[in-house]
């Protein structure tokens, strides 16, 4: 991962200089949501796929890529207080993950890869930009709308018998939560004749541990959805030790479903257990992220542009 990351960094050093200190964080609104201000800047982070050196040529408004959209979130109610601490990765080169978001700002602005910058603790943001699947406000309407949107996206046209995917041939369908309907013990038989059946199965889970997907001893599968794709997929976060790899994997999951070339990594956001709307931007998938993430969402780059990135930021992103 390191090599890919540093390549990225070299080619687009400014790319990840996401949020200068004085920027405000804003809440992204879904289309159905009540209107958020359009001037709100979004925190978006786009990464090129590792190994592809063509980021500088990409115009994020034009390409139709799948991206993991990664925004940095914090609870709106937190009011700028540092609500989450993250373990500080020991030694990280450029690919350093977001560690302590608030306290280490200045330091990170210099040494952090252009993935993420955090607002200074001295100027705590009032609100945070969020590419949110759900709002941290008790906004059930949004959840309803979002779900409705997803359902509608899901529903095949009612009056035709056209198969859902037309003539599109899917390759790897990718894992769906709870599908195929087999017990966990059967899931990895092919790979591990010895290790799987011997893996510990926890019978007493910690009280506050509520994995959204299916944790077994091996993988932590997290649901990941993408607009326009009716069936969410799953990614095994434990299988990837870097953001790039996760990004490649997600890309592959959705690859067959995209109109364009489908390449592109990018941004991931997730909803953490403790933080309401939370985003951890990472080059390394640290344990905090892995243990608290509940869902991911992939955005196409066309959606990304619809989020109306702040103009100066956009320039940076394209660098």
């Amino acid at each position: 991962m390191e090599s890919g990351c540093s390549k990225n960094v070299e080619s687009c050093p400014k790319l990840l200089d996401l949020i200068p200190q004085e920027r405000e964080w804003h809440l992204k609104r879904e289309e159905e949501r009540r209107d958020g201000s359009s001037e709100e800047k979004k925190l978006e982070l786009r990464l090129g796929p590792p190994g592809e050196n063509n980021w500088s040529n990409k115009n994020n408004t034009e390409r139709d890529e799948s991206l993991l959209s990664l925004g940095y979130f914090s609870s709106m109610k937190s009011n700028g207080k540092q609500t989450h601490k993250f373990p500080c990765p020991e030694d990280h080169p450029v690919g350093s993950v977001l560690s302590t978001p608030w306290a280490k700002n200045h330091h990170q602005q210099q040494t952090m890869p252009p993935f993420l910058q955090f607002p200074s603790t001295t100027a705590p943001p009032q609100t945070l930009p969020v590419i949110a699947k759900e709002s941290s406000q008790p906004c059930c309407n949004k959840a309803v709308d979002l779900q409705e949107a997803e359902r509608k996206a899901f529903k095949p046209p009612a009056n035709t018998a056209v198969p859902l995917n037309g003539s599109q041939k899917r390759t790897a369908p990718g894992p769906v939560v709870g599908w195929p309907p087999i017990r966990s013990i059967r899931k990895n038989l092919a790979n591990s004749s010895s290790s799987k059946l011997a893996s510990e199965s926890p019978t007493h889970k910690a009280a506050n541990e509520k994995p959204a997907a299916e944790p077994n001893g091996k993988g932590l599968f997290v649901k990941i959805n993408m607009d326009g794709v009716p069936i969410g997929r799953k990614v095994d976060l434990r299988a990837y030790d870097s953001y790039e790899k996760l990004s490649i994997a997600v890309d592959e999951l959705f690859r067959g479903l995209l109109a364009g070339d489908g390449s592109g990594g990018g941004i991931a956001y997730f909803k953490g257990q403790n933080f309401g709307l939370t985003c951890l931007l990472l080059l390394q998938l640290n344990s905090m992220f892995v243990s608290t993430v509940k869902r991911l969402r992939a955005l196409k780059s066309s959606e990304l542009s619809a989020l109306s990135l702040g103009s100066n930021k956009q320039g940076k992103l394209q660098a």
């Binding site: 759900e134 941290s136 008790p138 059930c140 309407n141 959840a143 309803v144 779900q147 409705e148 359902r151 899901f154 529903k155 095949p156 009612a158 018998a161 198969p163 859902l164 995917n165 037309g166 003539s167 899917r170 390759t171 790897a172 369908p173 990718g174 894992p175 769906v176 939560v177 709870g178 599908w179 195929p180 309907p181 087999i182 017990r183 013990i185 059967r186 899931k187 038989l189 092919a190 790979n191 591990s192 004749s193 010895s194 059946l197 011997a198 893996s199 510990e200 199965s201 926890p202 019978t203 007493h204 889970k205 509520k210 959204a212 997907a213 299916e214 009716p230 069936i231 257990q273 309401g276």
Partner: protein, 572 residues
């Protein structure tokens, strides 16, 4: 009318054993109700929350055997969060208090604590049989308590449970005086056991008929065990790995020849294909073969084995047997009644190990086929229609296409017609699971033809509420309906609320049912428990009724809301 003394009537009732029949008998008149309840020994409770232990005990003081089921079926696929419920402890506690002479307890999808097991082992001096299927919550310490305290234990059958293994000593807890074992199944335990204890236990159990070992029991121990117990009828092999040229292996081959009572073979949790030839002599007489947990066997190995199994009635196998292998099954196993083909690599879309072709071959070659569970990558309408022509005896038909919305790859059509043919020609069908691309049309067929259907599982299917309505209106015998990711909503849910009183349960997840509709249903039907599983920590109860619920589980009950629901389950 009762011309006979009660004792005579009771004697007659002794011949009536099925639960359904006894339930019917109890409804005839008060007198029969009374006689029946005092003489009833075996009770089956399909949903542990439909009744309380106290009421059970009050009605059936002579209870000897209890079967309880807890979590909804989709819990097997991790759709039900941990701690949802299904605790057996209150049942055992109540039974213990009441001095019921419990002898047999069979549990499925329940949470069983070590305390429960300990209580069970101490308060029922005649306890004979414990069967736990897909349960969790206990450790080998609980098992040890059963071993140590149940003096007349005949059956200890642990199937596919999640057990925390504290290593080994539980087996040594069977006292030397315990000689009554008939069935011992610990295949799902993962830890070490004391092999010497096992050998001694088997040696002093002359009635042992069924023995299923876990993966740590090596081949040489197997050989010794078979020496002690050549009378076995059901054998589950743990580890089956050795050098075929070794002396131990020769001994095994020899002793297997003597085990001519074995009719059921399973396990092979660890297997070396080169050792399989030793098994061939017993294959001739096998009626049940389960290789679905044997990852080390390739198509050829499986095919060679199956060629010897002419009397096979039930086969559970992995899809790596391939179409070719299943073709051999079709031509060899003419007595086959049940076939289950599991995916060896469920997430691998590339290598389609079995296709619709072998299903057609099986249907043509096995005239007695009545139960099918088939995982495959694709299915065609033509194949299903052919299967329906060949097989009209299906009781259970469960097809799982790994890509859940896959159309017929040849015609690009939904699989409505194929499944329609299946339900049309199999009039005895009791259980059906659908997959593949499906529209409302398939549900129209199901409603029209599947008149005996009792359980239906639907995923990613249908276009509109009509689909669900066809089923609810047409399937008069429906008991369990489980639906995920289908566009069925409030209109379907609320159309015929009384229907749910005739069913055991309804599960709907990721559908289009709103909170408001669930509330309405709960309000209008006090005999139902409508439960919402809400895993998002943000949402509060007093939410907008337009909110779509993610998971809803409702079931009929005589006792109202349960008291043990976790926070994230809302009882409406």
């Amino acid at each position: 009318m009762n011309y006979f003394p009660d004792e005579v009537v009771e004697h007659v009732f002794d011949f009536i054993t099925s639960h359904k029949d006894r339930n019917s008998v109890s409804l005839v008149c008060k007198s029969w109700y009374k006689i029946e309840r005092y003489s009833r020994q075996r009770v089956f409770i399909g949903n542990c929350y439909s009744i309380t232990p106290q009421r059970l005990i009050a009605r059936f003081p002579g209870l000897k055997s209890l079967t309880l089921k807890g979590k909804p079926h989709f819990a097997d696929f991790n759709l039900v969060p941990h701690d949802w419920g299904g605790f057996v402890y209150p049942w055992i506690k109540a039974l213990a208090k009441s001095r019921i002479g419990l002898e047999e307890l069979r549990l499925k999808r329940m949470v069983v604590s070590d305390d429960s097991l300990e209580l069970l082992s101490k308060y029922f001096p005649n306890f004979k049989s414990l069967v736990l299927v897909s349960c969790e919550g206990f450790t080998t310490d609980g098992v040890a308590a059963i071993a140590a305290n149940c003096r007349f234990l005949r059956e200890l059958d642990l199937q596919e449970n999640e057990v925390e293994d504290h290593r080994g000593h539980w087996l040594s807890c069977f006292p030397e005086s315990c000689t009554s074992l008939v069935s011992l199944n610990f295949a799902c335990l993962k830890g070490e056991i004391n092999l010497a204890s096992l050998e001694r236990l088997v040696a002093r159990s002359p009635n042992l008929k069924s023995l299923r070992l876990n993966r740590v029991v090596p081949l040489d121990t197997l050989q010794k065990l078979l020496m002690r117990a050549p009378q076995l009828v059901d054998l589950g092999i743990g580890s089956y790995v050795d050098d075929p040229s070794s002396e131990v292996f020769s001994k095994l081959k020899a002793v297997i020849q003597l085990c001519n009572s074995i009719r059921s073979l399973s396990g092979f949790l660890e297997v070396a294909p080169c050792c399989m030839s030793a098994i061939y002599p017993i294959c001739e007489n096998l009626t049940f073969l389960n290789l679905s947990y044997a990852p080390g066997l390739q198509g050829n190995d499986l095919t060679k084995l199956v060629q010897h199994c002419r009397k096979l009635q039930r086969l559970w196998i992995l899809d790596c047997i391939g179409d070719k292998g299943l073709g051999v099954v079709a031509s060899t196993c003419k007595e086959l009644q049940e076939l289950r083909v599991f995916p060896s690599d469920p997430f691998d879309a590339e290598n389609a190990a079995v296709t619709e072709e072998s299903l057609v071959l099986i249907s043509a070659g096995c005239p007695k086929l009545n139960s099918l569970l088939y995982f495959c990558h694709q299915m065609t309408n033509a194949a299903l229609i052919t299967v329906a022509k060949n097989c009209t005896n299906f009781i259970r038909f469960r097809l799982c296409i790994l890509d859940p919305v896959k159309a017929d790859p040849v015609t690009n059509q939904p699989l409505d017609e194929g499944f329609g043919a299946i339900v049309r020609s199999n009039k005895s069908l009791k259980r059906l699971s659908l997959s593949g691309l499906l529209t409302d049309q398939v549900f129209l067929y199901i409603g029209m033809y599947a008149k005996k259907l009792e359980m239906l599982s639907i995923a990613f299917a249908g276009d509109s509420n009509k689909g669900m309505l066809y089923v609810l209106n047409g399937c008069k015998k429906l008991r369990k309906l489980e639906i995920r990711d289908c566009p069925f909503g409030d209109v379907a849910l609320l159309q015929d609320m009384g229907k749910y009183e005739t069913m055991r349960s309804l599960w709907m997840s990721s559908c289009e049912v709103t909170l408001g509709a669930c509330k309405t249903l709960a309000k209008k039907m006090p005999s139902l428990n409508v439960e919402i599983i809400n895993e998002s920590e943000q949402l509060e109860f007093s939410l907008d009724d337009r909110l779509l619920v993610d998971k809803m589980y409702l079931y009929r009950t005589l006792v109202g809301h349960r008291k043990d629901a976790p926070e994230y389950v809302w009882l409406l």
